[in-house]
């Protein structure tokens, strides 16, 4: 009823090929973005910003990067955490070693460094495929974990291997309060999502998808696998690297390599698969799910326990939390292997026909 396309006519290719060809979508998305920029800072308290919203935004960005590689180009990676680390440490080094370096430039340069590293570690994908590649990307994870712990130059000779940065500045705007940080991350996320959406709609995105669907066939029709795969690794690592830089410099302020451990890599892959591979929106859904679920379980379980008059010990809560987390992931994969994004589009289809399903 509200979501009907009847009567909407496109008179030019341009109109037909825009990102959101249906006005309802366009307005809803715009409304969400405006609400995120204006409404949320007015409504939300510090805890939500720091514990949920900022991690959600940054991890969405990282998941977006992983989705480009895994969802669009079909190359499974278990090393995303390492590229976040590269982004974070590279931007840290740019910031402290080059005097007068603006923070935003340092973050972007961190992303570019991650992209370069991504190309190097993506090179085996030209020869190794599927699960073998997934395990091979773990090499990147363990190598960088080690490198940032061991090579003192990266951490500016800090005795403990942990680094810290002051509040960053952007054209005279000091980003220090949670609201500032939220807005800064949100701005970057919106820009990068727009860029990603346009990339995957364009020629390069179609090359990636051709490689994903069948790389031999793609090669036969004239797509250069080297260019397509390595560009996917580069773009993906760039996104992940920028996310890593934000995670370190904006969210944590002080960090150690453990912030980008293998668990982070798994977490990002979870986001992409639960959210929906090959769907930009899926990255957001996945990130929201994975960020909120553990916190939600952790706070709900004692309440549920008290409903039944049980005093639930903290240890049991965390054990049950892991159990429910694992079970829900399996449940989701069984119910909808294509992720929440698919649920979303199914829902939209239903809405188009509603209230007359036939």
């Amino acid at each position: 009823m509200f979501y009907r396309e009847n009567g909407q006519f496109k008179t030019s290719y341009k109109a037909d090929q825009q990102i959101f060809p249906i006005p309802q979508d366009r307005w809803v998305i715009l409304a969400i973005v405006v609400f995120a920029f204006v409404g949320i800072p007015l409504l939300v308290d510090e805890y939500l910003f720091r514990a949920i919203l900022i991690p959600f935004l940054i991890l969405s960005l990282a998941a977006l990067g992983v989705n480009i590689l895994v969802g669009y180009c079909g190359q499974i990676t278990l090393g995303a955490g390492a590229f976040m680390a590269v982004g974070a440490y590279a931007s840290y080094n740019f910031l402290i070693r080059v005097s007068g370096m603006p923070a935003l430039a340092a973050i972007l340069l961190g992303g570019l460094t991650a992209a370069a590293v991504g190309i190097v570690f993506g090179a085996p994908s030209l020869r190794v495929r599927g699960l073998y590649l997934a395990v091979a990307t773990l090499a990147a994870q363990f190598f960088w974990d080690w490198a940032f712990l061991r090579i003192k130059w990266f951490t500016n000779d800090s005795s403990s291997g942990s680094v810290s940065v002051a509040d960053i500045e952007l054209f005279g705007w000091t980003i220090s309060t949670p609201t500032d940080k939220y807005l800064f991350c949100l701005g970057i996320l919106v820009l990068f999502s727009l860029m990603a959406k346009n990339l995957v709609r364009g020629s390069i995105g179609r090359q990636w998808m051709a490689i994903r669907d069948m790389d031999v066939a793609a090669t036969v029709i004239g797509i250069r696998p080297m260019y397509a795969k390595l560009s996917a690794f580069a773009v993906s690592s760039f996104y992940v690297g920028v996310a890593g830089a934000l995670w370190g410099m904006v969210h944590l302020g002080s960090w150690e390599p453990a912030a980008f451990s293998i668990d982070r890599s798994f977490q990002l892959l979870f986001m992409v698969i639960i959210g929906g591979m090959g769907a930009i929106a899926g990255s957001f859904f996945g990130a929201a799910f994975i960020v909120i679920l553990p916190i939600f379980l952790n706070q709900m379980l004692p309440l549920v326990g008290s409903l039944f008059g049980l005093e639930v010990s903290i240890a049991l809560v965390s054990h049950v939390e892991i159990m429910v987390f694992g079970a829900l992931i399996v449940f989701f994969l069984i119910v909808e292997p294509h992720g929440i994004a698919r649920l979303w589009s199914t829902g939209r289809e239903k809405l188009r026909l509603w209230p007359f399903p036939h």
Binding site: V70, V135, A136, A315, L316, H319, M323
Partner: protein
Amino acid sequence: MSFFLETLLGGLMSGMLYSLVALGFVLIYKASGVFNFAQGAMVLFAALSMARFSEWIPEWLGMDNLFVANVLAFVVSIVVMFAVAWLVERLVLRHLVNQEAATLLMATLGIAYFLDGVGQAIFGSDIYKIDVGMPKEPVMVLESVFDGGILINKEDFVAAFISAMLVLALTIFFQKTATGRALRAVADDHQAAQSIGIPLDRIWVIVWCVAGITALVAGVIWGSKLGAQFSLSTVALRALPVVILGGLTSVPGAILGGLIIGVGEKLSEVYLGHYVGGGIEIWFAYMLALVFLLFRPQGLFGEKIIDRV
């Protein structure tokens, strides 16, 4: 020279243990195409079950015989692992037939989380002792040949021996029994196996049971060495390079791969590590596997991948 030999031996013995975990991966991958990330969680779960039952059973029965308690605990743990296998097949795999490899991989990660949680909730999260009477003190051998002799860790030696026996038993099981042949048939071609009347789901349960037993043996060995504790679940990560090096579908590959990785990482850590600050063995194992993969993308003994459009 004697130190080199010691390192080599140490590497071979760790390698045997990696093979044992890798074997669990390979068995399941061969039979069902699932890359089972939960293998590490299964090792932990089995070790916890073994440790706790060997503690509880004497309490329940009011007896004091360590040997009987261990045997009973082992039997109970086998039953527990069979139950896990059956539940996994019933509740998870059955519903995920024909899904993409990545989805299955994630599902096993979900199972891993679940098992970690259940295991600790039931059995506790302390360090528990598995006492199967493994010798702890080292011995020196060949003192006449080398100056100072070679130090051999008896515990490692026994562990490597048990692993080798298990591998041998599994090989016989696969080559000689009807079930083993059915398993191999399923591994070669699911549909063809089904069409000649091999029940797929039962085979899957059997494979997970066998993987459960290897997890239990690995759990007992590692647990007796390190104590049954949460960190055991990370052994899966040490066994991954072994699997890809040896090839996901090859049992001999898992064994040889384990030995190569075991020796490679120990030698590299001892002889190269201190030039770069140490702690290199874990990524070195992955890099080693990666280099092998560049020459043989399907692993040492993996089935050749043939591309067709």
